[in-house]
Symmetry: C2
Subunit: 479 residues, 2 copies
């Protein structure tokens, strides 16, 4: 693999997909062992620590609450704002609700720098503090920057390694695609997901570390370590194991085969695309922007905005004093979910090829009504309040899964820049396809098909992208 | 080709692409000759005539002008509304403007029913009147319906053939994809473009006619006959000529080869996708909704809303009295452009494969900032007012084209349901690639690559889709 010049044209993607698989199977890197990594990460934890203090919304500084609407804006007009949204979904179990939502029209960069060492692709990862992280520091992409960050609206320091991503045509781009983020909390938020390969020398700055994909995959099995931005960027990588890779068992063989373009699939790609068009067109989503202070079911309480039921999420604020960030001190609003979520993917072997059951899911903030979500994605506690008919199909398979059939089970954090202690249990559970029949909203897809969809924007939601990375992490599994 | 059962899985698309090419090469149909078609169409013209009378905006009935904002809504809250938009594009020659825009959140169906007769696919076309058509009647898809139409908000008659498109899973879908419309005049308008194949008998109702793709292609060469909706739907069809099809000359050979997935291309698909991501991310489009009566450069004049320069377009209204439509009488606002547009595509043979020069183009109404447009798309008269730097690259190649190198030249109408006498000269001009170098905003693509992008939403704008259909129409050329 090493030393071969990359092929031109369409074969380039196939070549990259094999190099990615090669890196996924590399459980040891050229730069660090996982033991050394943990030592390094703990050391950073000690001196990169951020003090985050919950404050009432009224104590925000640099943010303006509009006296008429109650909407919350940064005084520069940049970063993000919060307003209200009224949502109608005629014919659905919950046909009408209102909610606060974050409006962040700026498109940021989530970028990972890659480089070959000893013939294996390594990825430059960052130990980065975010105010919403339950544990302060998590493993982050090389660059994670909003436009306000990198145009330095707040006068902070320059973002390291940004040049590789601002002039990507000068490098080889392994992935470069805009993807959505949480459509339940963000209105049409999108980020640019990039993996760029460096050919020359790259200085490793303090707080950064080269890891193989196999090493990152092992770290994905640890709670709240690999952050959401890493997971979404890595999901966009092409990945296909060459046929000479030995499978460790039948499940592993079905997984490797699932990434193979030639493997038989339950549906062909056109059928899946037509199904997505159908789901988008059949859903009559009506959105009306409303003032934040006129949301029927929400009220100010104790310096926060909460739902009258106490469920879903609240709008709160934090004061941050951090080392190692662009700006040392600031306050900001945050979304704080009220419970631990379950994000679960059913997988099954169909003719010896692993398939995943995706759900055509609607959230108000999506660019086009529906994106493919995991089989289940919810906060179970909310169903104490919501009608029984709103309870997701297949939820029970994740609440009491057979331990023998759990393939992945880690609690991971959502983005700590906007969400405060937002954590979900990510589960991959194997089932018999007969126990999880398709519905008009559910389809079985192969890993290769998920990869084809991920070349394009807004097909897979951010939770599904996380689970694609979790599925990829099983490539190097030694069971 | 006839009688073969369709193959399963991915080969199905290849099979369909050949059947489409076969129909494109069929210059004679099983149901009508072009002479008979014209006779039939003229007969319809006589008794399907609509009386359309320009009226001042103040004479609209069933529409409400908001007293505060001046925004125009239908009294039901359905159909569409008009409001103002302030647009900022920092760094561009025109970095700031404001304009009226149509808001039509409903997604309609543009559907063409297909069926094989004597082994050749035919398409069921409709002679349909629209109030904005300069000539009343144009050739339209089988179904052309907004959700308000087909849920019968205005109490009109049932839309014929709609069931084939409302339960498409019961049929074979050759194409089914959501696409944008004019982003300069519509805010995030999208329609579902469908081609559905019927297997059983289909009653041919008054005003409908089966035509081969080759026949429709011949009609595309006539001014203002094949409407915009037909052009966009047909552009989404897969199309690839089998290698045994004889080329009539070198240009034709390069065209047929361009639709071949195996033909060498200037860029590979990943490079093109990355380029689109780059263009979307590099463009800082800032949109602010503003009241229609507070647009700085626009004013009410003589019952219309016009730009102070007299250029661009005006918001006007019409009263309609029509036969053969769902409702016989109504009034509605319309957008009326002030000049004839030029929509031009440069094509060139690169290593014997025809490539088209697409432009990464921004309009405020796009779902994601940039879509691929023709090489040039503008109303030349507007540059009497706009700064010279805003003049599109390559415009001169379409204002004074070498007659020897014109491959397509027809004046076609835009959608007559919202636009009043909106006409553009659609041109395909062949050039030497050395005379049209790529810029950061221009790339050469093959017809196969355009087809790959058209499987997905929002890559090609509506003008580019029209020109893809015009390019397809050259498949059956006998020069």
């Amino acid at each position: 693999m090493t030393g071969d010049p990359p092929p031109p044209g369409p074969a380039r993607r196939v070549h990259d997909a094999r190099r990615i698989a090669h890196s996924a199977l590399a459980r040891h890197g050229s730069h660090t062992t996982l033991t050394q990594f943990h030592h390094w990460f703990r050391a950073h934890h000690r001196h990169r620590h951020a003090r985050v203090r919950p404050i009432p919304l009224t104590a925000l500084q640099g943010w303006r609450v509009d006296p008429d609407t109650g909407d919350i804006h940064h005084h520069t007009g940049r970063f993000f704002s919060l307003h209200g949204l009224e949502v109608r979904l005629p014919g659905r179990p919950v046909a009408h609700w209102s909610q606060p939502i974050i409006n962040q029209p700026e498109v940021g960069i989530l970028g990972i720098l890659a480089r070959e060492f000893d013939g294996v692709l390594h990825f430059l990862m960052q130990a980065k503090v975010e105010p919403g992280n339950c544990n302060g520091l998590q493993l982050s992409p090389t660059v994670q920057a909003t436009r306000s960050n990198y145009t330095r609206v707040h006068g902070g320091a320059q973002v390291p390694y940004l040049d590789h991503f601002r002039d990507p045509a000068a490098h080889h781009r392994i992935a470069d695609v805009r993807q959505s983020e949480q459509g339940a909390w963000f209105y049409q938020k999108r980020n640019r997901n990039m993996v760029v390969e460096a050919t020359g020398d790259v200085e490793v700055r303090d707080g950064f570390q080269w890891l193989t994909l196999g090493q990152i995959h092992q770290l994905l099995a640890e709670d709240d370590l690999v952050n959401m931005d890493v997971r979404t960027v890595l999901s966009c990588l092409p990945l296909a194991a060459p046929s000479e890779v030995p499978a460790t068992d039948d499940f592993h063989a079905a997984l490797l085969r699932s990434a193979d373009p030639a493997a038989p699939s339950r549906h062909d790609l056109d059928d899946l695309l037509h199904w997505i068009t159908e789901a988008r067109s059949a859903t009559e989503l009506q959105l009306t922007r409303v003032p934040l202070n006129r949301l029927a079911d929400w009220r100010h309480h104790d310096g926060r905005i909460i739902h009258h039921s106490g469920h879903f999420f609240e709008v709160t604020a934090v004061a941050v004093r951090a080392g190692g960030r662009e700006v040392a001190q600031w306050t900001q609003p945050m979304i704080r979910p009220t419970g631990l979520g379950v994000i679960g993917l059913l997988v099954a072997r169909i003719h010896g090829v692993l398939h995943a059951l995706l759900h055509a899911h609607t959230e108000p903030g999506y660019a086009d009504v529906v994106e493919l979500a995991p089989t289940v994605q919810c906060t179970p506690a909310n169903y104490q309040y919501l009608p029984a008919a709103a309870r997701p199909a297949y939820l029970d398979q994740f609440l009491r899964p057979d331990p023998q059939r759990i393939r992945f089970d880690t609690t991971l954090s959502e983005e700590g820049g906007r969400f405060y202690h937002a954590r979900n249990r990510y589960l991959i559970v194997e089932t018999d396809p007969a126990h999880a029949p398709e519905t008009p909203e559910h389809r079985w897809l192969t890993l290769h098909q998920l990869g084809e969809l991920l070349r394009h924007s807004y097909y897979l939601n951010v939770q599904a992208r996380s689970l694609v990375s979790c599925l990829h992490s099983l490539f190097g599994a030694t069971t």
